[in-house]
């Protein structure tokens, strides 16, 4: 297999890992607990910027053409850990502000607006993160881990992403399929009942907001370190909806389903449409790729609205109560 093919596959794998981690974070917030976080991409962005600034040196040393707030040149794994911390902290702040006893769609819109404001600030305040140009020359931690050639470094990074994905997956399974997970699902389905049982639903929402935000930030850190660059164009507010699509297509609330959705929607469909044997005008071709993506999403939602691997719902049989009707995944009402 040629080096180029290796890089391509490595890219695909890294992107899958990044999307899976991000979608798990969103799934915890939205899929399991029902928090409509329309600002999710902001947390990925914060993680990316933090990892970048923690691993870059002071602005004069990284090319001299970019300005940013701070450059600490910390070694691996501190930038990634720092990114997760900042993501968690920001999620906490945003969550405290927005997760009140609000109708969920109002919460969603406030968060959407927060995401947009953040984009405007990042683009206009040049000294923060180099404005619209964004940050470049972000070092890849694999470079410091192994002084071998570039190919090996790439695979080391892929390995790192895979390990992190596995860890996050284990945490997700532990959270979602546990008594705590039942509380979260209770918050989603019937908040009054959960409160009546003595649980604080707002506190639960805040917790998943922070954990989900941390995962989002982790995904951003990995992506920024892989690409080596991070700019506002990568986290415009519609990107959040790509994650939502992945979660819904995969099966919200289900850990394996969301992973599948992330791989398919984030990477699979986009790559697959490029292999379609259509020639002709490149603008038409490029537009067609987007159109096919949209059509595929609609088809998924029509054919299988509960998602590809829907959430497992427990059914309780009792002699007096008739068996519960098979309830579709919580995308349907």
């Amino acid at each position: 297999m040629s080096a180029a093919t290796q890089y391509y596959i490595a890219t695909i794998l890294v992107y899958i890992c990044v999307d899976v981690i991000a979608c798990w974070g969103l799934d915890l917030q939205f899929g399991v607990t029902g928090v409509l976080n329309f600002a999710f991409v902001l947390f990925q962005a914060v993680g990316a910027y933090t990892a970048a600034m923690l691993s870059l040196g002071p602005s004069s040393t990284s090319g001299g053409f970019q300005q940013y707030l701070v450059g600490l040149k910390l070694p691996f794994p501190l930038p990634i850990l720092g990114a997760m911390l900042v993501g968690a902290a920001l999620s906490g702040v945003v969550g405290l502000i927005t997760l009140r006893r609000l109708r969920s769609d109002y919460q969603a819109m406030v968060m959407l607006v927060i995401s947009v404001v953040a984009t405007v600030i990042a683009e206009s305040v040049i000294g923060l993160a180099n404005g619209t140009a964004g940050l470049a020359l972000i070092p890849n931690p694999a470079q410091s881990l192994s002084s071998l050639n570039h190919e090996t470094q790439t695979w080391v990074f892929v390995g790192l992403c895979a390990v992190l994905t596995l860890i996050v997956g284990i945490v997700m399974y532990a959270l979602v399929y546990s008594p705590y997970g039942r509380v979260l699902r209770g918050v989603r389905e019937n908040e009054a009942a959960i409160e009546a049982m003595g649980r604080n639903s707002t506190k639960a929402r805040l917790q998943v907001f922070v954990i989900g935000g941390m995962f989002g930030a982790l995904s951003g850190a990995l992506l920024a370190e892989f690409i080596g660059a991070w700019a506002p164009s990568e986290w415009v507010y519609p990107e959040t909806f790509v994650f939502f699509t992945a979660v819904i297509v995969g099966g919200r609330g289900s850990v394996s389903g969301v992973a599948l959705g992330a791989a398919l929607v984030g990477v699979g469909v986009q790559q697959a449409v490029q292999y379609l044997p259509i020639g002709g005008d490149p603008i038409v071709l490029a537009s067609l790729e987007w159109i096919i993506t949209g059509v595929l999403t609609l088809t998924f939602l029509w054919v299988r609205p509960q998602g590809l691997l829907p959430e497992r719902r427990r059914r309780f049989r009792s002699s007096t109560v008739p068996p519960a009707r098979a309830i579709d995944g919580a995308v349907t009402s």
Partner: protein, 295 residues
């Protein structure tokens, strides 16, 4: 002071353009509870309909009216053929957002494939200049303000005084009860989509007139400002949408005048967030409280 009055004056013009679309957006959301992110695409399509008519020699103002009608019919059709079917199929609010996004994606890119990445402009003379105390507005800008005032007033009056308007408010407040009272839900929902589509169409043409040039993706690019205005005013309240649009329009101009033109958006959005933190449901009272999708 002169700076302030002119900023307010300009803000009113921007507000007028945003208000038309914001009222449409908020009305449709309040009646159908679908967060329609394809709204910008409807604006763009209507804007192009007006462009083709305008190129054929029609006055832009008549073209605007026809484009509005097209927007209404298109929205109504998309709902009948697509959104309503998905809702009947069992999708709830969150799934519908994705549906509207996909529809918007398909529409925008189909249009871009058809017309190319080029920029277009209307043949619309700016009209004579009207001198106010410290600023100048053109006849075109004033006419847009008048249109905005008329349309929003008509919408408000329609909601308050006509039977169908009351039916819409009833549906918005309590769909089950409304159905039980014999309100023809499907027809009312269709009318809500039609009205919001007309407002999207007229709003799209007004926006394109104001910014003087547009492409296949312009409507979607400005959608967030419209949503901001609608949310600030209180999503679901057409009166609120007007006030929200006024605030957004005036704040951006004031921000440019007194602070930093680069950050004019930040001021408007910052105020928006502040208002939402204090009063998350927006400035004006809603037509409805917690409820599910309207079938």
């Amino acid at each position: 002071m002169a700076l302030f009055t002119s900023a307010v004056g300009f803000g009113v013009v921007t507000a007028a353009i945003l208000a038309i679309s914001a009222v449409g957006f908020t009305l449709q959301f309040s009646v159908t509870n679908v967060f329609n992110l394809a709204f910008g695409s409807v604006m763009t399509l209507s804007g192009f309909v007006a462009y083709w008519l305008n190129q054929g020699g029609m006055s832009i103002w008549i073209a605007m009216a026809i484009a509005g009608l097209c927007g209404g019919v298109l929205s109504m059709l998309v709902n009948e053929l697509l959104y309503a079917r998905f809702i009947r199929h069992g999708l709830n609010l969150f799934g519908m957002v994705i549906v509207t996004i996909s529809v918007g994606l398909i529409t925008d890119h189909a249009l871009q494939a058809a017309v190319g990445p080029s920029f277009f402009s209307y043949n619309a003379p700016p009209g004579r200049a009207f001198h106010f105390a410290d600023f100048v507005l053109t006849g075109q800008e004033l006419l847009i303000v008048v249109i905005a005032v008329v349309l929003t007033a008509l919408t408000q009056a329609g909601l308050r005084y006509t039977r169908l308007g009351k039916a819409m408010r009833g549906l918005s407040a309590n769909p089950a009860l409304a159905r039980a009272c014999g309100i023809p839900t499907r027809r009312v929902v269709a009318l809500a989509w039609f009205t919001s589509g007309v407002l999207a169409g007229v709003g799209g043409v007004a926006l394109f007139l104001d910014i003087s040039t547009f492409t296949a993706t312009t409507g979607s690019e400005f959608l967030i400002l419209i949503i901001a205005a609608a949310v600030l005013g209180g999503i679901g309240s057409p009166r609120g949408a007007v006030v929200g649009a006024l605030l957004v329009g005036v704040l951006t101009e004031v921000g440019a005048a007194y602070w930093n033109p680069e950050l004019k958006d930040v001021l408007a959005f910052g105020v928006l967030i502040a208002v939402l933190l204090i009063r998350p449901q927006g400035l004006f009272k809603q037509l409805a409280t917690e409820r599910a999708i309207v079938r």
